[in-house]
């Protein structure tokens, strides 16, 4: 154990004064160019720049992606979460500001971007979003004013993609794990083990 850590003594006395939680930002990542942005998680940050920094460090490094967007949690509005698919409705009109629309395919799933609508307020944006994108396949519509959504630039994303990062993916180990196991177990036994790895046990 490192000596510095071994010497850590519990600080005596009272805890420092409590601090209020910072703003919550919701983060969505895009796997490849043109694909929808899918919900990845949240970060806690005081402003947009820090939120984007954290989002890149956390979700931008979790798995390969080409871009991410974030907005402050309080800026989004969710429509109702239906049990089955939302009933499509007629609601057209092009007046008002631009809203980014997200759909949720099933409860417990992840929201993803579907497109944009124009609307004078969130409720109308949800109605128009449902009409345009629910398509019998969504159980919830979420909208955010497009101007409240912040996106990483291409230059920012490229920094994180300059080296092989398969060491942080399970599949990055498949080859060496197989070659080491098959020195101990025969191929059919290994295949069975591998199958159960994914299907039954994990």
């Amino acid at each position: 154990m490192s000596k510095v850590r071994e010497r850590t003594r519990s600080p005596e006395g009272d805890l420092p004064a409590p601090t209020p939680d910072a703003k919550q930002w919701v983060v969505y990542t895009q796997k490849r160019e043109g694909a929808p942005f899918k919900w990845a998680g949240t970060v806690e940050a005081v402003d947009t720049e820090l939120a984007l920094q954290y989002a890149r460090e956390h979700y931008g490094l979790d798995e390969a992606c080409v871009g991410l967007i974030t907005y402050e949690h309080g800026d989004s509005v969710d429509g109702e979460y239906s049990i089955g698919p939302l009933v499509p409705q007629k609601a057209d009109g092009t007046d008002g500001d631009e809203w980014l629309v997200f759909t949720l395919a099933k409860r417990g799933g992840n929201h993803q971007t579907a497109g944009t609508v124009n609307a004078p307020d969130a409720a109308t944006a949800i109605n128009r979003g449902t009409a345009a994108f629910a398509d019998g396949k969504a159980c919830n519509i979420r909208v955010v004013l497009a101007s409240d959504v912040h996106e990483t630039t291409d230059e920012e994303m490229v920094i994180w993609r300059t080296h092989d990062m398969t060491y942080k993916l399970a599949k990055g180990y498949s080859k060496q794990v197989r070659s080491k196991w098959t020195r101990i177990r025969d191929n059919p036994a290994y295949e069975q083990y591998q199958k159960e790895d994914i299907e039954t046990h994990f």
């Binding site: 939680d21 060491y167 994990f202």
Partner: protein, 340 residues
């Protein structure tokens, strides 16, 4: 590393909700419909879910501490990169699970304060030491393996925000487990010294892994809120049996001996003899095994384990050290550097 949610069944709680609403809520869960924010839920459901998500979040960030100590001493560049990424993942899991908990009504600062003052707990397995590199391999293989087994069942739960977080976390746990399996395979294909070190680490971690799932549940646990409301999906004993079925034959094939051990207060093995109960029952496909020392489990969970004080001291140290940063950026007194 990380999370079983609750290794110990939460205490029984009194349900004080409108019976009609409660019946409709329970019917929804029985029908396999997930709960999303905005849906009605009994207060006791919210309390139990918060307790579970907060415990899980605490376990993620405390679990990063023993492994973090090994980043500087990882044996190769690849292992160093992978371990850094893994520790980063675990802290990220903590961030995501604190977020789920916040939505259920508790501030992040309150959760961090309750953790360092011992009001809330984290997973018991992180109260044990990792004195060698082989311990890090065992943690990634056995503890992350056990965590995936548990979390896969939790991803089948009823609370939408926890389920989507679990699905995302499990993807990363698969990397932790696979790199751990690769580390154990490497060590067990290595020198005599490496094999001996690995056996010693296995002796330390096998009983901790068995205890990971918590003691046997009450006989009627299926009718109690955690399982009835699908916060908890599978009995502890059932998870433990699946774990042994998976890992006992793998350990034996690797050349490891499954021992029954005694340990001293520092968590080091003082005696080891082969577990004679280890055997495959061909009729059921299940392996039999000796239960871990449950007295030790309770002793450690009550705060008297080898590393309890050390882990909490380090967390408290970080909380104190970070106070000025939280204050400074919270008040907007310090700006982030301008974008390049």
């Amino acid at each position: 590393m990380s999370g079983a949610a609750n290794p110990v069944s939460p205490p029984d709680i009194t349900i004080t909700a409108d019976p009609e609403k409660l019946a409709a809520f329970e019917q929804r869960i029985a029908d396999g419909i997930l709960i999303e924010p905005g849906d009605w839920m009994p207060d006791s459901y919210r309390t139990l879910m918060l307790r579970m998500a907060e415990h899980h979040a605490n376990s993620e960030i405390i679990g990063a501490l023993p492994e973090g100590e090994w980043i500087t001493r990882a044996p190769s560049m690849l292992r160093k990169l992978a371990l850094t990424a893994k520790v980063q993942d675990e802290v990220g899991h903590g961030q995501m699970l604190y977020r789920v908990s916040q939505e259920l009504g508790k501030s992040r600062d309150d959760m961090l304060r309750d953790l360092v003052t011992g009001v809330t707990k984290y997973h018991n397995c992180f109260n044990y030491p990792c004195p060698t590199w082989a311990d890090i391999a065992m943690v990634q293989w056995l503890i992350d393996g056990a965590a995936i087994m548990n979390q896969k069942t939790l991803a089948d739960g009823a609370y939408g925000p926890y389920v989507r977080t679990m699905n995302r976390i499990n993807m990363e746990e698969a990397f932790h487990f696979k790199s751990g399996e690769d580390m154990v395979l490497t060590l067990m294909s290595g020198t005599k010294g490496q094999k001996a070190m690995t056996q010693e680490a296995f002796d330390r971690w096998w009983p901790i892994s068995l205890a990971f799932f918590g003691p046997a549940d009450k006989p009627n646990c299926e009718e109690l809120p955690p399982m009835k409301w699908r916060l908890k999906i599978e009995r502890n004993d059932s998870l433990r049996r699946r774990f042994v079925n998976r890992f006992a034959p793998a350990a034996i094939d690797l050349g490891l001996i499954i021992n029954v051990v005694t340990k001293n207060e520092q968590g080091f093995v003082t005696s080891a003899k082969p577990d004679e109960a280890i055997a495959l029952d061909k009729s059921t496909g299940d392996w039999s095994f000796t239960q871990p020392d449950w007295d030790e489990f309770w002793r450690v969970i009550r705060g008297n384990g080898p590393c309890n004080a050390h882990r909490l001291a380090l967390r408290r140290f970080s909380y104190d050290q970070g106070a000025w940063v939280r204050r400074a950026i919270g008040d907007g007194a310090v700006a982030t550097p301008p974008a390049a």
